[in-house]
């Protein structure tokens, strides 16, 4: 993309976005309720999403669609989330390992895991990124420490690990306390203690199988991902991974705003369409402006991923993610509000989007960058 300020999307990105929107509104939208209930994504939908190449990124060398640049992936994921943020969010979480492997996997790791992921015949490793008490990767409690024998001790606890895709390996991201750098290691699920039942439901993303895991395992050095490859560092890849759920939230919330706007033009109360009341139209306008600002913030930090030191990068991503989730949770709650009592019913999809944006906002929430803001 251009180095100077320019928001023009290249033709191929416009075309891609059109295709993603068709899939979102033509198929994801139709199966959203079923997936929410069953926790199972229909095989054809999973296949279409895989073929799109945004939720499960696989290098073309191994049969995938290649690794899109960060902006393109964010736009693709957000557009797909118009159809259903829960399905797309779950796919982003389960597909996170493929992205890290495509960017930083060793040749052996990529050969072992990526062809199956590209073909849909096997699940790529999932990612164990988020922690209960320490949102910043720079200060993760999980440690990956080199032992005297050259192997590595991987010790810690992670939350929101997506096991619903059937992965049998997990890429654990933690800190090397001696080198003060991030490390990532591929760990067999069999060596990991599952601390919460995967079947235990969450507000949304039922197909993700979000799980809390604990681990205290020694692994060989060849299970570690590269710290840097082709100019991309692990800190930057982790930052990119953290931005994707924020894009999902924006996509779901934008759809909610569109849905509520349409409803408000059709619903008549007190003798006229409710959109003609400023209490309704200004709220929708605020939602639109907040989402627009958050999206630009997301694109902005995506531009700057390679220009920040690791500390600054972690904090800037934390702030940006917080802004996106604040805009998204506000827009979805207001969308329900516009529908009045109808908004609570499963007859309308808005309550799905309300639940999903709330869940996404809990996973990567740094209290330093978010706060309760009273409005009285």
């Amino acid at each position: 993309m251009s180095a100077s300020f320019d928001l023009t999307l290249p033709d191929e990105v416009v075309a891609m976005r059109q295709a993603a929107r068709s899939l979102a509104l033509g198929r994801l939208d139709a199966v959203a309720r079923e997936v929410d209930t069953t926790g199972q994504v229909p095989a054809d939908v999973a296949g279409h999403l895989r073929d799109m190449g945004f939720t499960c990124v696989v290098d073309s060398e191994f049969g995938g669609g290649g690794v899109p640049d960060t902006h393109t992936q964010l736009i693709g994921v957000e557009t797909l989330a118009h159809g259903d943020p829960s399905i797309v969010g779950a796919e982003v979480f389960t597909g996170g390992g493929a992205l890290l492997l495509s960017l930083l996997g060793t040749a052996g790791q990529r050969r072992r895991f990526l062809p199956g992921a590209a073909a849909g015949s096997a699940a790529a490793p999932t990612v164990a990124l988020y922690e209960r008490f320490e949102p910043s990767p720079r200060a993760y409690d999980t440690e990956i420490t080199r032992m005297p024998d050259g192997r590595y001790l991987v010790h810690g606890e992670k939350v929101a690990v997506a096991l619903g895709g059937g992965a049998d390996h997990v890429i654990v991201v933690g800190r090397d306390p001696e080198q003060d750098v991030l490390r990532a290691a591929v760990v067999a699920l069999a060596d990991i203690e599952v601390a919460s039942a995967p079947a235990q439901g969450h507000l949304a993303m039922s197909s993700a199988g979000l799980t809390r895991i604990r681990f205290d395992v020694t692994v060989d050095a060849d299970t570690l991902l590269h710290d840097e490859a082709d100019g991309v560092t692990l800190a930057q890849a982790v930052a990119r991974t953290r931005l994707l759920p924020a894009a999902v939230a924006l996509g779901g919330a934008t759809r909610a705003r569109e849905y509520a706007t349409r409803y408000a033009t059709e619903r008549v109360a007190f003798g006229r369409p409710i959109i003609s009341f400023q209490g309704v139209s200004f709220t929708l306008a605020d939602n639109h402006m907040q989402l627009d600002a958050a999206r630009l913030g997301l694109w902005s930090i995506a531009t700057a991923l390679d220009g920040l030191d690791d500390d600054r990068l972690a904090d800037e991503v934390g702030r940006t993610v917080a802004e996106c989730h604040a805009a998204a949770t506000t827009a979805t709650r207001d969308a329900i509000q516009m529908l009045g009592g109808h908004g609570f019913l499963t007859d309308h999809p808005v309550e799905l989007w309300y639940r999903c944006t709330a869940l996404l906002s809990t996973i990567d929430c740094d209290p330093r960058f978010t706060r309760f803001a009273p409005a009285v």
């Binding site: 008490f133 329900i336 908004g343 309760f372 009273p374 409005a375």
Partner: protein, 398 residues
Amino acid sequence: MAISLKPSQKTVELVELTRRWSLDVVRPYAREADTNEIYPDVPEVIEACPLDVAPVGFATLRDDEYVDRAHTLKTDIEFGPNVLSVFMTEPLSQGDSWAWQMLHGGTVSEDFINLIGTPEQVEKWCTGEHVLTAIAMTEDQSGTDLAGIQTTAVRDGDEWVLNGKKVFISNLLECEWIVLLATIDPEAGSAGVRAFILDRDDIAKFDVTTDKEDKIGFRFIRNATFELHDIRIPFDRCVGGPEAPGVAAALGVFSKNRATCAVWGTSIARGCLGFTEQWIDERAEEYSPARLTRIRADFAEMHDTLDDVVRLALKSAWLKDRGENAAATACEAKAVTPKLAESIVLRCLQLVGAEGASERHLLEKWYRDIKMTDAMLGPGQVQRRSVAQMLLRGGAGR
């Protein structure tokens, strides 16, 4: 001059007793109520409640009944029933919301009859052993705007003949009787709307198209959709009679209940906040000092905010007890509270993290429940419209 915004010590003690009941006795059944989508069948929970009348029903007690009730509750009657109602609603749902509606006077239908019914109707329908009741107001095209009601009641000799459709009606299949709003003059807008009482035999003749709506929260309350085809009821079932004030009196009922409905939301949020504070305190050593400081500042802000909006509800109740116009202040409380209460529950979810959004805890249930309090008795945007209109008329009160 001695302005006081505090309850008496006796009331404080009763509030605490009620809070403990909600936390210790009601909360253990909260997940069951949500999963089974029906009130748990545990009458001992209701019997253990320190209150035998739902606070929302205090204001419809006759003066002598209220005095008796206050003595029974061992509280003061230094303030009127509406103020006591707000004070006592605040602890009621801190454990969970499912139980209190099972208390006598827990639904607005009895209010309708107590406030605008004839003495005979009050005697027949609102005295004696407590039964669960319901109210049918909402239609596909009509929510808060009663002028949109299209269900008709046509007089035919000594009977009314009802036709139409109602949606989203709570407790229809569980209730003993229901108050249903219909118009006796479709050309008259809201002025044509009247309330009618239908008993179990009448309800059995409804064409129920949905007996349980799938909805996001308050799943223990079942909501039905039904149609009425030439349902005939006796003439004396029109609340207050056809000449009684129509929608104005009906809105008066909602005006009173808006303040307590607002405090229902603060009660859920306060319970959620208490849970989260305890969860964080038990893990305080896990947080960096900067985060813990931020979190505790948030807790203080959230408590202050809840106190703010409860005071708005108290002001409305106080005006009502004095016989003054409380409509604007009730709308104020109802306009701002649900959104704030909801944002507090969301903040609690975020502070507990992904685990907070799982069924391991009740936070995710309360986040689904709290959204419901905003649409009840009119969503926030309609309340703001009402406040604005009263300001324009110079009638927003003191």
